[in-house]
Symmetry: none
């Protein structure tokens, strides 16, 4: 229980199994396991492990491990272009706070899924049928803004 690798493993284990809210807490847990280090070192360890701190649902904060592929993708930032929507897009039109996207039969669900995934700011939500997507627009966004955002994931839309 002496070298750095062991310590890193211990940190991962503790964070995975307990709700740790700050470094002092974690330091105590580590000390209880025979690891003697300072907050400065722990800060560097957490940086190296890419541990993240976020709000928990109970109002406190909690450290989390980057264990999921999705999370990893996010931590690397800039990931948008990886998977663009295959073509299936047919048309888009608007009525007040609703956009209606027509697709080729069967494509609505997939495209709606992709739109949802991207969490575009003007998009409150989507509902898909077989060849139609209803998209609810957030307040204070123009139709044009919606279109612009959608174009980042549905390039075919640009030529319209």
């Amino acid at each position: 229980m002496k070298n750095k690798q062991n310590r890193l493993n211990a940190i991962k284990f503790i964070i995975a199994n307990e709700r740790i809210g700050n470094q002092e807490e974690l330091l105590k847990r580590l000390y209880a396991q025979g690891f003697d280090l300072t907050q400065a070192t722990l800060s560097r360890d957490l940086k190296q492990l890419k541990v993240a701190k976020t709000a928990a649902s109970d109002g406190s904060y909690i450290y989390i491990l980057p264990s999921s592929p999705l999370y990893k993708r996010i931590t690397k930032g800039k990931l948008v272009h990886e998977d663009q929507v295959r073509s299936g897009f047919v048309s888009i039109s608007f009525s007040a706070n609703i956009a209606v996207i027509k697709t080729r039969p069967g494509y609505a669900g997939g495209i709606a899924y992709d739109i949802d995934e991207h969490d575009l700011p003007p998009v409150l939500a989507t509902v898909a049928g077989d060849d139609t997507i209803l998209l609810v627009i957030r307040e204070n966004y123009t139709h044009h803004a919606v279109k612009q955002h959608l174009e980042t994931i549905i390039p075919e839309m640009k030529i319209m």
Copy 2:
């Protein structure tokens, strides 16, 4: 560009599209977009949005959004929201006369059915997809009123 919801959306958009390393930076970007707030408020916003701060691969720190269900599950640790598991309800948000209710996949139909059954005064109609319900609100009902009525049949909604 004035209310809190707009600001939260702006924060999400900025974080999704830029590499933000601390709150002062984000504050400047928000100010450039016409949002005037203090670091204290921003800290609370980030807490509410469950934005996480983690190390980036280039040695700096970066804020990330909890955009994936997987990530959300992680942030909640092992105490996976029993509420949601039980009812299927995930979230509710509004845009003018539409309420959008997010559910766990497959639950939308069931919950929409329950809502219809109750004939709540503010509810004109519902349409359900797989994990989303669009609820059309009758005129002269506030968002808050809708929420209160729904809470009578979806108690889990209260914690939001």
